[in-house]
């Protein structure tokens, strides 16, 4: 059988190298598009031959890598990772199309980094070995750092370094947790093995509750900072806002932290020394993020920062859904990740277009863009509606599932989070009102609407938002299977 997982990781990396070697923008973007299209085709092939009713790992690949330390080259996908791979594979070619006509310095590096990023992120999703997982996890840092640092806004230096240090420290703490788990398992079984499944199955056998808590918290910290969630979110607005549009979209597609929570944190949670406290932490931080993120978004003058903070708010749903601990709430959280990836891509692309054509993204300086940029206005409105949770769009399904099913286990936090929904609606509508409608601000001058490629790429994503909003089952089925597996793992772990 085709080693399709290795291929979807290696092909972007390989094309990344090609892209670096090209000289001209025209060559670089063609190479990038080819690489991502091949990846997309492979992913679609994988998606259609994926058995969404099976909880087992599919397309598994296993090869010995460093036997003396029990490290294997172990890949596989299941319902938890498949939708996220799909998301990446779909959006990134569109992103490349979106930037098709952009003129910027060193385009070969630009496209090379995008491809490297895609390879690394997919690598995280398909890794079933902690070592490999961590390698890809760290690898995602580098393209993003350069994205912000080279093509970012005026504060790029500060933002990139802040991002780098925050997330790197978090990863190192996570690494400590992985070490702890690895050696505890080694001691217990006498066999070195870095496999994620193996280590998690050994987790409950660790004698001391405090040790389990320490390992758990170290891992949790790593994921929460990367997610990010209040109070570890402060790198995000800077990095998102300073990044170029493509960089912001890449940040949005970086769903590895949420994935880590589903894959690692949730199954381990019941086996910690104090599971209740852990649930509280997760739920509380989630709902606080929803509300606090919304408040912060409300107070922003800069459109891009506002979108960034709304992202913090959205990520709160992931944590809250995870804290719900039932299969459907977890599925909701997963769907929120998927939906957020689509919606926010459009949002950042729109902001990018606005900034490029008007030269500003301060909300107060804009107004009445709908009259001059009708195509943009339509697509952007759809995204805003989806983001605030209008029924019929993906955002609604995700938030609805999280609220409804989390209520069973963490009612207090759900009620707290509900306040956030009101504010979310408020700032979305306000921002839309101020930018799109009303009187056209003459100071801006003449602006151009979306180009054809931009329209195409944004419209495809918008249509996907609509499609999955009306018919979520193509991805939701997988997610529910995956969530059921997580829940059954949790049941097996319970001490």
């Amino acid at each position: 059988m085709l080693p399709v997982l290795s291929l979807i990781v290696l092909i972007p990396l390989l094309f990344s190298a090609f892209a670096f070697l090209t000289k001209k923008r025209e060559q670089a973007r063609v190479v990038a598009l080819m690489g991502t299209l091949i990846t997309l085709i492979l992913t679609l092939y994988m998606y259609f031959s994926f058995d969404s009713s099976s909880a087992a790992m599919q397309f598994e690949e296993l090869a010995s890598w460093i036997p003396s330390l029990g490290i294997n080259y172990h890949l596989g996908v299941d319902g938890v990772s498949m939708p996220l791979i799909l998301l990446n594979a779909i959006v990134i070619p569109l992103l490349i199309l979106f930037t098709w006509d952009d003129v910027r310095s060193t385009p070969n590096r630009f496209y090379g980094l995008i491809l490297a990023m895609q390879g690394a992120v997919i690598g995280v999703f398909v890794s079933l070995d902690f070592f490999l997982f961590y390698v890809f996890w760290e690898l995602t840092l580098i393209p993003l750092f350069f994205m912000v640092n080279i093509w970012g806004g005026p504060n790029k230096r500060h933002a990139s370094i802040k991002f780098f240090i925050y997330t790197h420290v978090a990863s190192l703490v996570m690494l400590l947790g992985i070490f702890g788990l690895y050696f505890a398992a080694w001691d217990q079984t006498g066999v070195a093995n870095m496999g994620i499944a193996h280590l998690m199955s050994q987790f409950p056998m660790i004698g001391s509750g405090i040790a389990r808590d320490a390992i758990f918290l170290a891992l949790l910290f790593g994921f929460l900072v990367k997610l990010p969630i209040v109070p570890f979110h402060s790198w995000l607005p800077d990095a998102y806002a300073e990044a170029p549009t493509a960089g912001s979209v890449l940040f949005i597609l970086l769903k590895i932290a949420g994935y880590g929570i589903f894959r690692v944190i949730l199954p381990m949670l019941p086996a910690t020394g104090t599971p209740d406290m852990m649930i509280t932490i997760l739920g509380l931080l989630g709902s606080v993020s929803i509300v606090y993120g919304a408040f912060l978004a409300l107070s922003q003058k800069d459109l891009k920062r506002m979108v960034a903070y709304s992202s913090v708010s959205h990520m709160g749903f992931v944590a809250l859904g995870a804290a719900g601990l039932v299969a459907l709430s977890i599925s909701g959280a997963m769907f929120q990740q998927f939906s957020h990836g689509l919606i926010m891509s459009i949002m950042f692309m729109s902001v990018g277009v606005i900034q490029a054509s008007t030269g500003t993204r301060i909300i107060n300086d804009l107004g009445g863009l709908a009259t001059k940029m009708p195509k943009l206005a339509v697509i952007m409105m759809l995204a805003f509606m989806a983001s605030l949770g209008l029924p019929g769009l993906t955002g609604f399904i995700a938030e609805f599932m999280v609220f409804t099913f989390s209520y069973v286990n963490v009612p207090t936090f759900v009620i707290l989070a509900l306040f956030g929904v009101v504010i979310t609606a408020g700032y979305h509508l306000w921002a839309m009102q101020r930018t799109m409608f009303g009187v056209y601000n003459g100071k801006i001058g003449e602006v151009l609407d979306l180009s054809n490629v931009q329209t195409f790429s944004m419209a495809v994503i918008a249509l996907l938002v609509l499609y999955f909003g009306l018919n979520p089952s193509p991805v939701l089925d997988m997610m529910i299977t995956g969530s059921n597996e997580i829940v059954s793992l949790m049941a097996a772990m319970g001490v």
């Binding site: 390698v135 350069f146 990139s160």
Partner: protein
């Protein structure tokens, strides 16, 4: 009769040195470039001999030399570094009248290092140690007309001489107490030393002596000056080769010979390791000279490697030993990349007050793409970003620390790694995010070849570490025989 085949690498290196010297003095200065190729060929041949006899094990010359996996591993390290340096120096010594001296010294220094690796007797160890040191003193001052180079050399020499004196004093006490200079012999007679204040005195002196060469804080003060002032290719040899020689010597002396009094030196190494890595990283933050920054980073890395002495488990030693190999590739590569920049600065006739100033790295990504890319990989590897050699080594070393329960040490080390990222990232930012001045510069082939070899090494250890971990484990098993 001894099997001279096992000594073939050393003999080849020494003979190549003599041949280079002889050919060089009877040759016009125009055709001296060929010497670099001869030296490179010698290193390659020796490397082939080492790899061919990798699993050999023997005692030679009245048990004063021991060929075992440990010595073979470190010979590999030294020869690889010598190879990289030789190749890079083909360009560096171009049009130089003293080419033969340069290559002969590099080869003799390597020869000394290789003998340290296989020494089984303190006498051989000390003599070889000094042979390598003396050759590197001269190399550091190779640019006789450059006041910085000479100053670097002098500081290095004075500190090196002091370290030799301390070392000899320490060895004399060990010898006095145990009545032998043979390393296994000392290990057998250690009970004498354990019950004696002389043991403590010897340990203090030996730690100080090796500490100078390893550049452990507070014995590090020569290192930044020397690495900065020396020609870059020599800095590569010093950081990647000479420092590793001190490590292998210290491994032999402390872990094999003085194991019985480990209680006395483990704590000392723990404190020194923590101070060293923290100090190195903190001071590196504020450096504007890249070579100086690399020097401080080198100090910090020495702190990491020293953790192997503290943890003292087979896995920690494997990690430490693997780290020496990785660091050899990373640091040699990084210094050679600075050599390319210095070459560029001289070529463009810029102000050469501090040719390796950070400002000269601006926009390097466009001016010299290969160098910039390689340097990026090297510094990211030094920071421990996967999938590079630096990550792999840190992974094993730090994880072994946690395994043995010294979580505090691991946390300090990991925080240090995170801190170090700041200044490495800054260098990368300068290269890629800053506008460049002047035209694109074509990179000299020898430099590029050396950089690519280092790059391949760094990536090979990072991507397929199994064979390297395997040989490092074998090397460590030689040391931990007594544990």
């Amino acid at each position: 009769m001894v099997d001279l085949m096992l000594l073939a690498p050393e003999i080849i290196v020494a003979l190549t040195g003599l041949i280079v010297l002889t050919i060089g003095i009877f040759m016009g200065s125009s055709s001296k470039n060929v010497l670099g190729y001869i030296a490179t060929a010698g290193c390659l041949a020796a490397l082939a001999m080492v790899i061919g006899n990798f699993n050999a094990s023997a005692l030679m010359f009245s048990d004063t030399l021991s060929v075992d996996p440990l010595s073979q591993f470190f010979k590999l390290v030294f020869l690889v570094v010598a190879l990289i340096v030789s190749i890079a120096s083909i360009k560096y010594t171009e049009d130089n009248t003293d080419t033969e001296i340069f290559y002969a010294l590099v080869l003799f220094a390597t020869f000394g290092m290789m003998f340290v690796a296989s020494a089984n007797d303190l006498m051989v160890l000390f003599v070889a140690f000094e042979l390598a040191s003396i050759a590197t003193y001269a190399l550091a001052g190779f640019e006789k007309k450059n006041p910085r180079s000479v100053e670097a050399s002098m500081k290095y020499l004075l500190m090196g001489a002091l370290s030799a004196a301390l070392l000899l004093m320490g060895i004399s006490f060990v010898y006095g107490a145990t009545g032998t200079t043979s390393i296994p012999g000392i290990a057998q007679n250690m009970d004498v030393l354990a019950s004696n204040a002389i043991g403590l005195l010897a340990i203090v002196l030996l730690i100080a002596g090796f500490g100078f060469k390893i550049a452990l804080v507070p014995f590090h003060m020569w290192a930044p000056d020397t690495y900065q002032g020396s020609p870059s290719v020599v800095s590569a040899l010093l950081a990647a080769g000479s420092k590793k020689m001190a490590f292998v010597a210290a491994f032999k002396v402390f872990i094999v010979a003085l194991l019985a009094i480990q209680a006395d030196w483990r704590m000392a190494f723990a404190i020194l390791a923590v101070i060293t890595m923290t100090y190195g990283n903190l001071v590196a933050l504020s450096q504007r000279s890249v070579k100086r920054m690399l020097a401080y980073s080198s100090i910090a890395q020495a702190g990491y490697i020293s953790m192997a002495f503290v943890v003292l488990t087979p896995m920690a030693l494997t990690g430490g030993i693997l780290y020496t190999l990785s660091h050899g590739f990373m640091k040699a590569g990084a210094f050679i990349a600075t050599a390319v920049v210095v070459y560029m600065v001289i070529k463009e006739k810029r102000d050469t007050e501090i040719p390796d100033h950070l400002d000269n790295f601006k926009g390097l990504g466009k001016k010299m793409p290969i160098t910039a890319l390689c340097l990026t990989v090297f510094v990211l590897a030094l920071a421990g970003i996967p999938p590079t050699a630096g990550y792999m080594s840190k992974f094993i070393l730090f994880s072994s620390t946690i395994q043995s329960g010294m979580v505090w040490l691991a946390i300090i080390a990991i925080l240090n790694s995170a801190l170090s990222l700041y200044y490495y990232a800054r260098l990368v930012r300068y290269m890629y995010a800053m506008p460049h001045e002047g035209e694109k510069v074509s990179e000299p082939v020898p430099y590029v070849a050396a950089l690519l070899i280092s790059l391949v090494g760094v990536m090979a250890i990072g991507l397929w570490p199994e064979p390297f971990v395997e040989i490092a484990m074998q090397a460590a098993s030689v040391l931990v025989g007594g544990i």
